[in-house]
């Protein structure tokens, strides 16, 4: 079918254990290295084994067009991610992508404020590079339960993006949820801001509410269970209601997301909120 992403058997060229369940996996893939944009993902599974049956979606952390590689940040938590993290260099994975909708870059003079929870940091490294190339300002608020959840936090300052950590146990940065320093920053009256968030649903919902209360455009990268990655199985749908629409509609996170306008997402427990926004109440 036209526009069908290519399925590639990609070589693992490097595997870096970051400690605990976290790994950086670098694969050779010319198209992904050249074409992938921040917010996009690949559907990937280790080797040719039929188990587990499905591929897993991972945000693209970085690309290296010169060496024709892309890198994923993977937390080994289940069967699929564990199989990927136990691959050896020189082995192959089955990879489909790059897939999905990218973040919308901020306009000139607008700061990109990124909010990450845990491995939700993944899409923001590439986004920070794109911001730097476009001459835009960026800032990351990075939250997790404890310090070891805040991997890769040293990889943003070199791109001119300052990173504010927060942990629930206070082991790194401010104690508490990431929305606390975020709110303080927004209260301090920065210039024009656009919000971007990736992480657990509860955090995304909190950031969406914060953005809405301050009239900020907010984009969220959602991570529902995904089957195929190409809009066929209809497994990864998200309830979304855009301004002009009379009622919510299930949309595939793989093809119409994973990045969505937070104001259009119908959050669990808040059904009807998108309808109120659609009806023209302030956002």
């Amino acid at each position: 079918m036209a526009g069908m992403p290519a399925n590639r058997h990609v070589l693992l060229v490097s595997r870096e254990a970051l400690g605990g369940p976290y790994h950086l996996l670098t694969f050779r893939h010319r198209e992904a290295a050249r074409e992938a944009r921040a917010g996009q993902f690949v559907m990937i599974k280790a080797g040719a084994s039929p188990e587990p049956p499905l591929r897993r979606p991972f945000s693209i952390l970085t690309v290296d067009p010169e060496h024709e590689t892309f890198t994923l940040f993977v937390k080994a938590v289940g069967q699929g991610s564990r199989a990927l993290c136990s691959m050896r260099e020189g082995e192959r994975a089955q990879c489909l992508g790059p897939l999905g909708r990218t973040f919308t870059p901020p306009g000139e003079g607008t700061e990109a404020v990124m909010v990450a929870g845990g491995y939700g940091i993944a899409p923001f490294r590439l986004f920070s590079e794109e911001l730097r190339q476009a001459g835009r300002k960026g800032r990351v608020f990075y939250g997790g339960r404890t310090a070891s959840d805040l991997q890769l936090s040293d990889r943003f300052e070199p791109l001119g993006v300052s990173l504010v950590p927060a942990t629930e146990d206070g082991s790194l940065g401010q104690r508490g949820r990431v929305t606390v320093p975020l709110e303080a920053y927004l209260d301090a009256g920065p210039g024009p801001v656009r919000l971007y968030a990736c992480g657990p649903d509860a955090m995304l919902h909190a950031v969406a509410r914060l953005g809405e209360s301050r009239g900020l455009t907010t984009e969220v990268s959602l991570d529902p269970w995904m089957g195929c990655g190409i809009g066929t199985c209809l497994g990864c749908v998200v309830s979304v209601q855009r301004r002009e629409e009379p009622k919510p509609k299930y949309r595939c996170a793989c093809t119409e997301g994973p990045v969505f306008d937070a104001a259009a997402v119908v959050w669990a427990g808040e059904e009807g909120s998108a309808a109120r926004r659609a009806a023209g109440s302030p956002r």
């Binding site: 079918m1 069908m4 399925n7 039929p50 188990e51 587990p52 049956p53 499905l54 591929r55 089955q94 489909l96 529902p224 269970w225 089957g227 195929c228 190409i230 066929t232 199985c233 209809l234 497994g235 990864c236 749908v237 998200v238 509609k249 299930y250």
Partner: protein
């Protein structure tokens, strides 16, 4: 019959009702050992929007197009059928009397042979296109349903739809799917599917299309040897979207290895113990 395999491939749409349907809430899919449990709930745009917006795009491909027909009532099945009967680029209708993930219709027709006969008869009257009921495996004896469909004028049978399953999140003590139960597909169901397609093929004179857990030529050959005239592949598309080239290559290699010229030569050649 314009069955797909005979003229080099085809595709089957997802089920269509008269009106658009939202489908089930999420989560809709759960991975299980060698399988996929789903409760999508027939999300779709409705048959008229499909004919207007989707069919013209499918017509660009040189392939057979079968449309899967759904209904909450016998009348709705007939009505959807009439819309498709007039539509250009439709080569046949697969009648979905076996979806486990909708509250009414679906299994209500596929779980009762009298209802199966009634709905297929109504569809038969409404179209000259080939009519292919998709049978449910969630029955005691599939041959009863195969014969009921044949008697009602079906041109072929699709065997099988998904098996009703339940996966439990033991931490939350809730079903892993929002709908509760779901339909199981993938390699996990293949031996059951081959057995049921084989039983159906022996019970009727019309062709049977084998479905269930196919992801290689060997898998497809199991169904063909068991008596199926064609096969469909569903779940494996989600795992490997490039699988058709591979499977056709494997199939050609198999035929060569066995000195066969045509895949039809293997159909129904199962040497089953005690059956001559």
């Amino acid at each position: 019959m314009n069955l797909a395999v005979e003229i080099g491939g085809g595709l089957v749409s997802k089920g269509l009702y008269m009106e658009a349907r939202d489908g089930c809430p999420t989560p809709r899919i759960a991975e299980t050992p060698s399988g996929l449990l789903n409760a999508i709930g027939l999300q779709g745009v409705g048959v008229r929007a499909f004919v207007k917006d989707v069919l013209p795009r499918l017509a660009r491909f040189d392939t057979v197009v079968l449309i899967n027909v759904c209904g909450d009532t016998v009348d709705e099945y007939a009505e959807v059928t009439r819309v498709l009967d007039d539509a250009p680029g439709v080569h046949g209708l697969e009648i979905n009397i076996s979806c486990p993930n909708v509250k009414k219709g679906g299994m209500a027709f596929g779980g009762d042979p009298v209802m199966t006969h009634e709905v297929i008869k109504a569809v038969r009257k409404a179209t000259r296109l080939p009519v292919i009921p998709k049978l449910s495996p969630n029955v005691g004896d599939i041959t009863v349903f195969a014969r009921a469909a044949e008697d009602a004028g079906a041109d072929a049978l699709s065997c099988i739809n998904t098996l009703l399953g339940l996966a439990v999140d033991v931490e939350a003590r809730r079903p892993r799917l929002a709908f509760g139960t779901g339909g199981l597909s993938g390699p996990a169901i293949r031996p059951i599917a081959v057995r049921m397609a084989w039983q159906a093929a022996r019970a009727v004179k019309i062709p049977v299309i084998g479905i269930g857990g196919i992801s290689s030529a060997g898998d497809a050959l199991e169904f063909l040897i068991a008596g199926c005239r064609a096969v469909q592949i569903g779940t494996a598309n989600f795992v490997d979207p490039g699988l058709y080239d591979r499977i056709l290559g494997e199939l050609a290699a198999y035929l060569k290895r066995h000195g066969l010229e045509d895949v039809n030569q293997v159909v129904g050649t199962l040497q089953y113990p005690g059956v001559t």
